[in-house]
Structure formats: structure tokens, C-alpha cells
Amino acid sequence: MKINNYLTILGTIFLAFWLENFINQYSINFYIEFNLGFLVFSYWVFAMHEKLQAFSSLAYGVVVDLFFFSALGFNMLFFTTMSYLINLYVFRFRIFSYLQLSIFFSASSIFYLACKYLLFSPLNYSYLMLFNSFIFNMILWVGLYFVLRSFRRKFLSM
């Protein structure tokens, strides 16, 4: 894969994290937190699993941690693990329906969210928020899947 493509993917992940920060300021009042950045990263690994493996996941994780002020290592850890899981089961995912896929990816993003709260803010941990976020991230995944797929076909040449 060309370096331009890696940078384009990084750009979309950046944009997603930035949008996520913006939207979550308002949605958090309704106990909803969108995991746009994590879902966008997951999509790219899912769609281009042969190109995005351990090292690139780690690299994206470092950049996101540094620029989005998380504890260093948090996104690295989750990006690497998610990348491994997707790469392991990618061919099984091919026969999954959209509903099954959205359940899997939304559940993964909720696990990420739960760990984030348990590590950095246990006082704000809320099952209601996790449940609401699960539903909304499921819907979000379906939209993201189609938007990013058409983006990939249009702009990313291998």
C-alpha cells in the first residue's frame, strides 16, 4: 500500500476522533457516547486487513494517543487487540449479515468505552450510558460502513 493511503486512513481516523470529541460534548448529557474514531479504525482494518496489521495499528494508536490527549498506550493497546481479532476472524465476518457485524463492532467499541471509564473515570461509569451507546454505535456502524466503503472505492488505490 502506498504511503498516501496510510496517511489518508490516518486523516479519516483523526477526523473521526475530532468529530467524536465535538459530538460527545452534547450527547454525554443524554448518556450517549459515540466511538466514531474507534469504529473508523475498525472499519479500515476490516476492509484492508492484509495491509493494516500489528505495526500500523500500533502506529495509529501512538498518534491518536499523542494528539487526542489519552494516556499513552491506551489506544495502542486497543487498536492492536482489535486489529488481531479482526484479522483472525476476517473471513468469517465476510459471511456475517450487517446486523451481526454492527453488533460485533458496537460491542467491541463498548468494551473499549467501559475500559476507558474503568481506568480513567470509575466514578462516571454508568451501565445506562454503555447500553445507550451500544444501541447508537450499532446504528452508527451501519452508516459508517457504507460511507467509508464508497470513500475507499473512490479515493484509495492499492
Binding site: A54, L58, L66, L72, M76, L77, L123
Partner: protein, 273 residues
């Protein structure tokens, strides 16, 4: 026949990545080992953010010139800024002055120790909104374009009260830890108790644990003041009000306090010291 779908996923690389990131995460959370690197990137991001505002400002200036109102607009903006600065400074000075008068009345023999401290005003550069709204880490960054030497742990005031303490300097920015940060402890007092209130990791919320006898004398809506213990904050400055009292056990109750000054609504902050 294959029982599972074929895939080529070399686990070694992932294991290395997993353990490396876990190690880094542990080092960062437990020992804050990467604070300087993170501070550098945070400051760079803020620079980028400020630099991106420059072209927009230029565009605004050009349009103002065309409409022949640039001088008036500039003067207006300048005066507005000055008024806000003077108002904030006056408010803080008034607060400090009244506190000092109280102390003078109480401790006439200690007049020499009550010299007026200097106040430096700084404009807010950014607030770590993502963490402020969701997580335990509540920090804000103040612009320090003149690179004034600011010590750590100095009290930071907003419009009406203290909001936090200086923590670190990153290039031209001063990092301030807010009272609501879960790592921060603030010595406070109410009419019925003294305690060290810890940030709850929620916007404007701090709490402390008091014994049942003290909590029996405490009511919701009671005002909370700085106790002055520790010598960092001046005593008797109102910082918040009690909004909830939860009984934790037979002996202890948790008092939840809402701070009066919301850092999201302020643009100027005074560092006292």
C-alpha cells in the same frame, strides 16, 4: 476439510505490540513517565489551533477595511478586552482585599505576613473538554505569550473564586489542574467541619468524607470556604455549596459540593502569587 476459515495472522507481532502498549500504558498511568512528551504534543496542537485562527483573523480584517470600520472595530474589541480584564482584576482584588481585611481584624499581630500578592491575568488557550466532560482528568491551558515564569501549585482564580492550581509549563502554555480533577485535594471548611475535598471527576463537583456528628450539623445549600490549611489558598473564600449528603456507613457521610465558578464560562484567569 478445513474446520475454520483460513487466515494468516502471525501472533508474534501482535503479542509484541500488545505487551509494549500495555507496558507503556502502565508506565504512563502509574508513574506519569511520558508527561513531557505528551505536554510537548499538547502544546504543539494548541499552537496549531492558534495558528489556524490567524488566516481567519486576517480575512476578518480585510472585510472590515472594505467596510471602512476597521479602526472602530479594533478599538471596540480592544476596549471590550480591557473592560473584561479590569472587571476580572477588580473582582479578584476586591475578593483578596476583603479576605485580607478579615484576617487583619482577626490577627492584628500578624500584619506583616499579609502583604498583597501579585495577580497575573492569563487568557484561556484551551480546555481538555473531552476529559472534562467524561473523565477524571480536568485540566485547562492558559496562554502565556510573554513566557512569564510561573511556579507550580499557585492558586488560580476565575471571576468569583478559586478554580484550580498551576501544574506545569509547556512552551507558552500553563497547565492548570482544576478542583474537580480526581487527583486534586482542596482544604475546605464549612460551619460544621474541616476536610480535604477531592475532585469527583465530574464537572464542578468535589466531595469529602466527614463523620456522622459533623454531617448531622451540615445542611444542603451550606456554603463551603477555603480553610487556608496548607498555606496555598487564602482562607474564607467561598468555593461552592453543598448539594448532597450521602450516608456511607454508621460513622461516615459523604458531602458533595458544587463549585461556584464554572471554568467553561470564563475567558480570563488570575494566577495569584
Amino acid at each position: 476439510m478445513a474446520r475454520s476459515a483460513p487466515s494468516y495472522t502471525p501472533i508474534r507481532n501482535y503479542l509484541i505490540g500488545f505487551f509494549l502498549s500495555a507496558l507503556i500504558l502502565f508506565a504512563d498511568i502509574r508513574f506519569d513517565s511520558f508527561a513531557s512528551i505528551k505536554g510537548f504534543f499538547r502544546a504543539s496542537a494548541l499552537y496549531l489551533q492558534l495558528a489556524s485562527n490567524v488566516p481567519l483573523d486576517q480575512l476578518n480584517k480585510i472585510t472590515s477595511t472594505f467596510s471602512e470600520k476597521i479602526a472602530i472595530t479594533q478599538e471596540n474589541n480592544y476596549l471590550k478586552q480591557e473592560i473584561i480584564k479590569l472587571q476580572t482584576k477588580a473582582m479578584i482584588e476586591q475578593k483578596m482585599f476583603s479576605t485580607q481585611i478579615d484576617r487583619i481584624n482577626s490577627y492584628e499581630n500578624k500584619l506583616n505576613t499579609l502583604g498583597m500578592k501579585s495577580i497575573s491575568l492569563f487568557e484561556i488557550a484551551s480546555i481538555d473538554l473531552k476529559n472534562y466532560l467524561c473523565c477524571s482528568s480536568h485540566k485547562l491551558f492558559l496562554n502565556n505569550p510573554d513566557k512569564k515564569s510561573i511556579s507550580t501549585n499557585l492558586p488560580v482564580m476565575a471571576k468569583e473564586s478559586y478554580v484550580g492550581q498551576t501544574r506545569k509549563n509547556h512552551m507558552n502554555f500553563i497547565e492548570v489542574i482544576l478542583f474537580s480533577d480526581a487527583e486534586h485535594l482542596l482544604p475546605i471548611k464549612s460551619p460544621s467541619f474541616f476536610c480535604n475535598a477531592r475532585g469527583r471527576g465530574k464537572p464542578l463537583m468535589i466531595s469529602c468524607v466527614v463523620n456522622t456528628e459533623e454531617s448531622a450539623l451540615t445542611n444542603v445549600n451550606d456554603s463551603i470556604f477555603t480553610s487556608g490549611l496548607g498555606g496555598v489558598f487564602m482562607p474564607n473564600i467561598k468555593v461552592g455549596e453543598i448539594i448532597e449528603i450521602n450516608h456511607l456507613s454508621i460513622d461516615e457521610s459523604e458531602v458533595i459540593i458544587k463549585l461556584i465558578d464554572d471554568p467553561l464560562e470564563q475567558t480570563l484567569f488570575g494566577i495569584v502569587g
